[in-house]
Symmetry: D2
Subunit: 290 residues, 4 copies
């Protein structure tokens, strides 16, 4: 029985590409963390050490920076598609290229009533994500966000669950529900010749708003139900979203027992716990037969 090479890919991770648009006095900034990975027939590199078909990860990095100028960064989606296409083309042994981008948002600094032309403050909070897979057969574009931390101080319960001999959790009628949301949605805009026509920034903004709206507006019987409601609203309103997936840690806030100190605690004082945490993962998708 032989020993052989299985699945493999290689690339440059976390190139920190910052692009300033300074065509007018009012600068724009795009601040990205770019990772690329090439897969294909690279058996020689692994087995005999022959690098003749390997486009170095250093070159992948150079291309990421060069494309920030040559192609520009109108949106992380469009930039990732261009970069992935280039790397596929430049590497004859490649069968696919995966480009992952994180974008860190910046706001303009307000001075009095005005927004400053070239001074920015990093917004913090969630990070925008894009993952593009490019092959000869086509594109797969998954937009997303991560670390969107949201909390409801009421309107959440958890009860009627399955019990066994290790169950000690009481029913909760009114609890804090909090999570640090990761969401990833696959786009129907996957024709290479149409990518440039999509208003990616606007779409991202709209999906984010719908996610928040559903989180706020849904009475929660469980985080699972809340996530499904969030996904459903996005799919209902955004025909260009094919499918959306969530990973949502249940960031537990435990009510503190203040009775020993003669104090009542009707949902007012909580301890925010680090670990362990519940972790809920779910995909909401379209079923053409329903």
């Amino acid at each position: 029985m032989g020993i052989v090479l299985g699945a493999n890919q290689y690339g440059k991770a976390e190139s920190r590409v910052v692009r300033i648009y300074r065509d007018t006095e009012r600068h724009e900034i795009r601040d990205l963390n770019v990772s690329t990975a090439i897969r294909g027939d690279f058996a020689a590199a692994h087995i005999t050490g022959d690098q003749a078909h390997v486009l170095p990860t250093d070159t992948q990095k150079n291309t990421a920076f060069a494309f920030a100028k040559e192609h520009g960064i109108r949106s992380p989606e469009e930039y990732a598609v261009a970069l992935g296409g280039r790397l596929l083309e430049a590497t004859p042994a490649a069968t696919g290229v995966l480009v992952r981008v994180e974008e860190y948002p910046w706001d303009r600094v307000a001075v009095g009533q005005y927004e400053h032309d070239h001074t920015f403050v990093r917004r913090g909070g969630e990070v925008r994500t894009v993952e593009v897979d490019v092959t000869a057969d086509g594109l797969r574009i998954v937009s997303g966000l991560t670390d969107l931390v949201v909390l409801k101080s009421t309107g959440s319960e958890f009860k009627g669950f399955l019990r066994d001999e290790y169950t000690t959790l009481p029913d909760a009628d009114d609890r804090i529900l909090a999570t640090s949301l990761t969401a990833r949605w696959r786009s129907a805009h996957d024709r290479p010749d149409r990518v440039a026509d999509v208003a990616w920034d606007e779409e991202h903004h709209t999906v984010r708003a719908l996610l928040l709206e559903a989180f706020a507006g849904t009475y929660s019987h469980a985080l699972q139900e809340t996530l499904f409601a969030m996904g459903r609203l996005v799919l209902e309103r955004m025909p260009m979203v094919e499918e959306i997936s969530f990973a949502a840690p249940n960031k537990h806030h435990f009510l503190v027992d203040l009775a020993s100190f003669g104090l009542d605690n009707p949902g007012e004082v909580f301890v925010a716990a680090d670990r362990p945490y519940g972790l809920i993962e779910a995909t909401v998708t379209r079923d053409p037969e329903k």
Copy 2:
């Protein structure tokens, strides 16, 4: 020559206290990370192991949670003063108590044009800090913020510096200036009986706005000069600030050389570097004789 106990303190670090105000439909949230440290005559605990004068760190934690209800959290400053005072009083051997608080800001979720009553999204970005030192002689209150990440895409130079045989840095006429600011300002509001009268949240908001205004509005010959300008503006406008200190990593953004690829790069594409980084620390203070 004997071996003796020197300076010492002990306490509970990083109690994650979350307080919901739910007196009306419109909830409010204060989300704190609280650390306390007691100092005084605790030689017996160290040398003979006798704990009779030691208020346990567990009790310090309990007090932090109980005070979130009993005293409330109108501002982190006022809460920290109350908590420190209590621990000093409860521990006869104590000569001083240090309370440090970080506050994580939350915004209301907007649904359409309305802000939701009980759904919040964590703002991200900078953290508000408070450090209160309580002794029998009085209070020392240092407000602050950390991780305020700001960037100017032009209006910054660095030239005319000292050179020696290890200097290779060329003069820079137009560079990106970016930092993750930590600022701490000592308050003149240090009378225990007046702490409750101060509008701490407003003061914090004003200092933050002044820091951003000076950062944006100052042409920078060096990060040192920018920090001094920021501190000066705060001291000029805020008589209740005695002194302000900064720690500011110079988050280097290096211009990428794209010439090898036949591309010009007039201040457009940068690599954001992690390490090493410049680190500038400075205090701006008042001199009664000037």
Copy 3:
């Protein structure tokens, strides 16, 4: 076109389970980070909010702690199999349970020539990992390690690679090769009734030693080649390993140009870079037909 629930799972992540064996004066310690995830038919929980079939994540956590006593932790593999089996059994709606365990290694403190009975120092360095998937059809056990940081100060080159117009990297005849290795190997010991008979700790120790031996002993034309050699050696010597996968960041160490300071630098002074980094992923497997 309907909107439906897709793939989903839920569980409790990162329960920090510490087990002390104190049957004799000479204590033993096992220090684990345990995550469980249940998948199956949980559509009701997502769509209508009905939790009747949901074993709470809190119960999963309780079970993890109870099993540290009831079943014990002879090895992370055996413990994970038992825990996963229990959760599958306790949850009629479940079709599979995934248990992931990280183990943090501790050494005994040496006092003079003796090892102390009940005092330990955490070894640091790599973390041992186990991932067990339990279904009605059987087991899948993947052992592993992560964060094993290794470095060769010579015996590594990278040259003869593909070049395009974005390539600036020169050939390297003698470079530092360093990585923080993640390795995961699937075990042939997947019969539930035999899991208790396997010497999992010894197998782990042997695989780790083989990985280090191959890393040290292989002249490297590229990190890819080194990884393949490491995987091949493990598969050759360990018939019970079916397949092994690697994720290996190429932790770049760049030679510092000291010529400006009149200093030669023949492979002596390097800067260790953080980001970006090369990232090589590869699987080495068995082919029954070769």
Copy 4:
């Protein structure tokens, strides 16, 4: 009342300097994280933006790398003294230079019975630290270590402590004591002309061994008592240590209540908690009058 510049310093933080000694087949490695900070009369840089007296942080970084070759790294202490002396000399406006070094330890990879000549595995665990302050008047050298994680599974109690109305903690007769130790000790070897004669690596090794010996060998009535015993042993045995300071988080391991599941738990199953944690800080010093 004027606004003036107070205390200030500036420098380059976290230069990752790796030095390979390859004079023989058997290579040696020193892996450092170097930070420098210059203080003195830099008012012009802050107030008018004039950089004429400012040695750039980029030059400080260059010097750190050049000195790894020119002066070499026999020990982090000696290297730091040389680097600090150089920066003080190169900067006429400077009155003092602070050099901080972290050293990451590496072990040789063992292949069978032999240690490999040029392949290393990072030890993990604690980091060695050095802080050197250089002025015209002399040196201050503080050696140390951080992140030394130690645990006793018995031989530790905590009882007889002060109680107030917020105290709920019961006495503990037998608990786990664990900490992630930071220790810093000031050396009497502070004559610049003698620094090269000191066996710094050996001294570090000996202090570390004494710390572990005292931690293991002391029955603990409280972490405070254990720390004092550790400091006392170091001062008794090492006349060249003037003073030693500790910062020790009490990493709580709480006994899990398994009674609900019909299980006994006599000190066997614990949950390792993240936050909050006790934090004990203490200095042990010499008193010439005792």
